[in-house]
């Protein structure tokens, strides 16, 4: 690269020579086809699982089948003897590396987080041992034979459990992972709330979400000598991964290269490595062979960090005109056991009223540790603020009797109101939610809809309209150590082609396309002649890549600045070579022209060739070559705004929701490529539909995940997502190029728009509790005015984790459950007699009666069910029963019962061969 003086710049606020117009240019603003597509469409993409290195071996993990307990012993002897197994590592083997995982902020987490379980397990799916084998199937064979004995303990699963349960982390006083705000509502605020003409208290429960990128996590790690480490890893920024690995693993002397050419979606999950990736990197060093681990979908759904599980109560005081007076929010988020950062989501409170004229706001916000897989980001991590505010405003509108659109008009911050600061001191200069709303209403005839709605209700059709408005902080830079500016490096090759090196990273964002559009536009070359290289930490400079809707804003600005520096050099050189004034030089479609002298036109290739190869012909002091770089530091924050309208029909017989129409009116400033912008919004909206209607990571009371396959975790399919209509406001921002971020917005605003539409449709039946997902069962409950949900203790489907957990066997009877207070009074362990029992099979409860007779340690009896009666013999010891039943149907399997009697209760499990284990519970008959 060139000397800094002539061709680089680093200061913030360094403006380009001519400020670019917003909107359409030759390429900026055009819907050009994507550069990425031809390789991805022909199977020539390079995802991490496509990498094969010489000598590479494969990794599988043995994982915890229980949510909480102490590891008594790990026996790897049998597993190690399998042909093709090279090594098995536990935390004991990795401990000498002394690695503590780091958060996104590159600080150690609040609780010690090791790559493999360190003496205890704290969630189902926690990796306990790492197997290295010739192939993945063989590694899994071995993992399934590792025997782990646990002293199981009662887990803390929900936020509610966390409030009163035993601390998840030994030595901690409680389960609070992070807390901010005031525990008591300020007296003055309380008085304002109490004294207001209208006080809305609105509660939202948001389910846990799996980010579910279509490409799961994965890494190929190879230690090439003592000083080089190369990682192929699916991630959101190779630079951030390199920095994280260097710090977390303590490798300041190592040349770390991280390559991630194609990544199959990230959505926050792949911000930085976590336990499994770290374990693989360490194991590659220990074993000194390249290792590959590709997470399978089962692992991804139970053991990859998850997001969103949260609940919030928002109080809003309004006057009779619907003007906002004051508000208070109380928020909690489930952090799981080992969150990627201990999170109480302060951003929820910072932005909840940023777009509204809210005079006063107070809050309490907390994150809770539980015995579930840890928290990570998901597209718009603070989205609760829009969901709860926008749904609460609709409740308020119905309560006060004001049109919800009018309520928003009376309270939204408009351009005329700015500059101003929000009640949480957020400076606002150019947010446009009110303008987006008006544009939306030009595209959607509300009064015509209301007539249709009224007519429909008379015919039993229940239509609903949901409107939502919001603002989103995007392109943040400077406040968090990892959220930096962006570096652009660009050169015109001696061939006249343009090559740029960027630190952008696409997990579908198409940054190689949008950045190429900028370079082509600003340098006057054909889009086809520009190539942007990214996805490799050996190129460009530090950037967190895709995080916080930042790449279009910041990298776009960097590309413009670098291109303009280079364009200036081209004109200087051309003016010298063609004996013209610099101002007379233009570059268009790869040709350099001199104004008024068409005979002097030369190809850019000719000029470039001279720049590199004929130093004698360069102007005095002109640095050879045609290269430039610029690190752009944008304004601290750039807001995007939007308003959405969603129309649904609810089938009141079934509780099914059909989305009939959806209009997005957003202001993302300059749209570099409107198709890419709309693609980002549409993807986010589809995820919002998933959150509102379909997706849910659930656990049973023992912390077993209930959605371990895509049969149970329902992602939106093509049939769930309507055609979206788009309206663009395009108010240029203060950042170079005028872009505003658009990566996360759809996922934020989509949920309240859809919830509001459903609530509007069902208004005749009462308010819809915002308890996501709004399943047909919950919606029909509102329509029927009765709770149709399953009883809390009837979760019969506690099977999956135990069934399919690769590896460890629980050898502790359920009733021994860890708390094992040996000094307690002896339990009532009368076994003999009849028992009413329920076997909780995957497909539902099976009732049966058991008859037991004991003679010393000998047990005999029978189990009786509608299918018939079967006799058995077994053993009994201190109330613990063991017996086997051979069953012929549906196939020949042996049912192994392990039960324990305590008073008039009996509990335990039944191992059902290939069908895994089922819980047994019952009472004395």
């Amino acid at each position: 690269m060139s000397a800094p003086d002539s061709t680089t710049g680093t200061q913030a606020g360094h403006q380009p020579a001519a400020r670019p117009r917003s909107g359409s240019g030759r390429y900026i603003g055009q819907r050009v086809p994507r550069k990425e597509d031809s390789r991805l469409l022909t199977g020539r993409g390079q995802f991490v699982d496509d990498i094969t290195l010489p000598g590479m071996l494969h990794v599988a993990f043995a994982r915890s089948p229980i949510a909480r307990g102490r590891i008594v012993s790990i026996d790897t002897d049998v597993a190690r003897d399998i042909a093709g197994v090279h090594a098995i590592y536990t935390q004991q083997d990795l401990a000498p590396f002394n690695v503590d995982l780091l958060s996104f902020y590159l600080v150690p987490p609040e609780v010690e987080t090791t790559p493999l379980a360190n003496g205890r397990v704290a969630y189902v799916g926690e990796p306990i041992a790492l197997v290295i084998a010739d192939s993945r199937p063989v590694a899994e064979d071995a993992a399934s034979l590792i025997e782990v004995v646990f002293a199981e303990e009662d887990p803390v699963v929900t936020i509610d459990d966390a409030r009163r349960g035993m601390p998840v982390h030994p030595g901690a006083e409680d389960n609070i992972a992070a807390q901010m705000g005031e525990e008591e509502i300020d007296e003055d605020l309380q008085a304002q709330l109490d004294g207001a003409p209208h006080l809305i208290t609105h509660r939202v429960v948001h389910q846990r979400i799996s980010q579910s990128p279509m490409e799961t996590r994965g890494v190929v790690a190879t230690r090439d000598g003592a000083e080089e480490l190369t990682l192929y890893i699916t991630c959101q920024s190779p630079h951030l991964v390199a920095r994280w690995v260097s710090l977390a693993l303590g490798l300041p002397q190592t040349a770390i290269r991280v390559i991630a050419k194609d990544v199959g979606g990230g959505f926050g999950l792949k911000n930085h490595p976590w336990m499994e990736e770290t374990a693989v990197i360490l194991a590659a060093q220990l074993f000194n062979r390249p290792l590959k681990w590709i997470e399978d979908r089962y692992e991804n759904l139970i053991a990859a960090n998850q997001a969103r599980e949260q609940e919030m109560v928002l109080q809003i005081a309004l006057d009779d005109e619907g003007k906002l007076i004051a508000s208070h929010g109380d928020y909690s988020v489930n952090n799981g056991a080992y969150p990627q950062l201990s999170e109480c989501n302060i951003a929820v409170h910072m932005f909840v009223w940023a777009a509204y004229k809210m005079p006063r706001y107070g809050f309490l916000t907390r994150g809770w540790y539980t015995n579930t897989v840890g928290y990570a980001a998901y597209r718009g991590p603070w989205a609760m603020e829009s969901l709860i505010r926008e749904t609460a405003l609709d409740v308020a509108a119905r309560r006060i009797g004001i049109d919800p659109i009018e309520l928003r008009r009376r309270n939204l911050v408009t351009l005329q109101d700015q500059p101003t600061t929000s009640c949480m001191d957020i400076p606002l200069e150019d947010i446009t939610p009110a303008e987006c709303l008006e544009k939306l209403l030009q595209a959607f005839d509300v009064s015509a809809f209301r007539k249709e709605q009224e007519a429909g209700r008379l015919q039993g059709r229940h239509l609903g309209l949901g409107i939502a408005t919001y603002v989103e902080p995007t392109g943040a830079a400077g406040a968090i150590t990892t959220m930096t500016g962006e570096l652009a490096q660009v050169r015109i090759e001696p061939t006249g082609k343009v090559t740029a090196t960027m630190s952008t990273h696409s997990q579908g964002h198409g940054t190689a396309t949008t950045m190429a559009q900028i370079f082509a536009d600003r340098l006057g070359v054909a889009y086809e002649d520009v190539t942007v290289f990214e996805g490799d930490s050996s190129r460009g400079g530090f950037s967190p890549g895709a995080a916080g809707s930042r790449q279009g804003v910041i990298a776009g600005g960097a590309a413009i600045m670098a291109a303009d520096l280079l364009a200036t050099r081209v004109r200087q050189l051309a003016a010298h070579l063609l004996e013209a004034e610099v101002d007379a030089i233009t570059v268009d479609d790869g040709m350099v022209h001199v104004e008024g002298a068409p005979d002097k036109s030369r190809s850019l290739a000719e000029i470039a060739s001279t720049a590199y190869g004929e130093p004698d012909r360069l102007p005095p002091g002109f640095e050879a070559g045609l290269e430039a770089q610029y690190r752009y530091q944008p304004p601290p924050m750039t807001f995007s705004s939007a308003a959405n309208a969603c129309v649904v029909e609810v089938d009141i017989d079934t509780g099914f929701v059909k989305i009939l129409r959806w209009i997005s009116s957003e202001d993302c400033g300059t749209a570099i490529n409107p198709s890419v912008v709309e693609g980002q919004i549409a993807g986010g909206l589809a995820q919002a539909i998933g959150m509102v209607l379909l997706e849910e990571v659930r656990f049973d009371a023992r912390g077993n995940p209930l959605a371990a396959t895509y049969k149970d975790y329902h992602l939106p399919a093509i049939s769930d997502v309507p055609d979206f209509e788009f309206v663009h406001a395009s108010t240029p921002s203060q950042s170079v190029g005028g872009m505003r971020g658009v990566g996360e917005g759809g996922a934020i605003i989509g949920a309240p728009a859809l919830v509001n539409a459903i609530a509007d449709a069902l208004a005749p039946f009462g308010e819809v509790p915002v308890d996501l997902p709004l399943t047909p069962t919950k919606i029909l409950g509102v329509i029927e005015g009765r709770d149709l949900r399953s009883k809390p203790d009837s979760d019969q489907h506690q099977f999956i984790a135990e069934h399919t957990a690769a590896g460890p066997q629980v050898e502790v009877p359920a009733t021994a459950a860890g708390t094992a207070d040996q000094t307690a009074a002896p339990a009532d362990i009368r076994v003999d007699g009849d028992w009413n029992m329920v076997l909780s099979t995957p497909m539902g409860p099976q009732e049966m009666t058991g008859h037991f007779e004991t003679d010393g340690q000998a047990l005999s009896g029978y189990l009786s069910s509608p299918e018939g009666q079967m006799e058995f013999t077994g053993t009994v010891e201190g109330g613990n029963l063991k017996f086997d039943l051979k069953v012929q149907k549906p196939m020949k399997i042996t049912l192994k019962y392990t039960l324990a009697v305590n008073g008039d209760k009996i509990a335990g499990k039944c191992k059902m061969g290939i069908f895994g284990s089922a819980k047994v519970s019952g009472t004395r008959a």
Partner: protein, 289 residues
């Protein structure tokens, strides 16, 4: 996850397949289309010692008419059954049911017999076999058996097959031409298992119901035959049928459970409505015709 190791054989005849099954003493799994078994293998939820692929047995494929009924070879692919002219004429409701099984891509390999044998309680085809009073033909080295579909299922994914037996055919009795078909499946997305499903047929003679076959899916641990509703309909003049009353008696023959997708109470409430709505529409279609 990848499957645990197993052996694989692909016999060419039914006899060979039966011999392998007998020898395996319950350690074998029969691979038909594999669209349900393969996920179970891949998740290591099923770990047989040997997989018996019956895909190369020609005599297990095809659809034909015989003895006044319709014979469906178990290895008939779902996509082929959908295109069958015989089924379109004889058993249109079976075709309708098959269109709802899985997705286009799985129907290209999934078989009619595989789905019927497996007995997923929320699946379409087991219930269709029960409703249409099909007979499952079974063979082993010990001989053959004919099992009424209504007696075939004993629990979720559980049936009365012995470990050495192979399903060799599904025989549907004749449903007179012009019979009324009943089918509705309520599922959140195409290809999902049903929250509530109802399937059946009503044969009509002189304006009265001459034969009724109705079964639920997704409404209990097995396909649930709506026996009481069938009884109630028998002999009734079509114009006197009260769909609501029939639905109320049909719902008594269900035993729905709670799961991730819906609660038992939801299934009962909506099941009754769907049943009444579907029967009403079926009768109305008949009137129009």
């Amino acid at each position: 996850m990848k499957p645990a190791p197993f052996d694989y054989v692909a016999p060419a005849t039914i006899d060979e397949a039966c011999a392998v099954l007998a020898e395996a003493h319950g350690g074998a799994a029969v691979l038909a289309g594999g669209q349900t078994l393969m996920p179970l293998l891949n998740l290591r939820m099923s770990q047989p010692f040997i997989l018996v692929d019956i895909g190369k047995i020609a005599e297990l494929k095809g659809i034909s008419r015989a003895n006044g009924g319709t014979h469906v070879g178990p290895m008939t692919r779902q996509c082929d059954a959908i295109e069958s002219k015989i089924l379109a004429q004889d058993l249109p409701v079976l075709v309708q049911a098959i269109r709802h099984v899985g997705h286009h891509q799985t129907r290209n390999r999934g078989t009619v017999g595989g789905s019927i044998t497996l007995g997923e309680p929320a699946a379409e085809l087991p219930a269709t076999a029960v409703a249409l009073k099909a007979t499952i033909e079974v063979r082993s080295i010990r001989g053959t058996r004919q099992i009424p579909a209504a007696e075939f299922y004993i629990g979720p994914y559980m049936n009365v097959l012995e470990e050495d037996e192979l399903v060799t055919g599904i025989r549907f009795p004749e449903w007179s031409s012009g019979h009324i078909t009943v089918f509705h499946e309520l599922a959140q997305r195409p290809g999902d298992f049903a929250l509530v499903g109802i399937v059946g047929a009503l044969a009509v003679d002189s304006g009265r119901v001459a034969r009724a076959g109705l079964a639920w899916f997704g409404m209990g641990p097995t396909p649930m035959r709506a026996t009481a509703a069938e009884q109630m309909l028998l002999g009734q003049p079509l114009h006197e049928i009260d769909p609501q009353a029939v639905a109320e008696s049909a719902i008594a023959d269900t035993a729905p459970f709670d799961d991730q997708q819906a609660s038992a109470e939801y299934r009962r409430t909506v099941g009754m409505r769907i049943f009444a709505r579907t029967l009403r529409e079926a009768l109305r279609t008949r009137e129009v015709a």
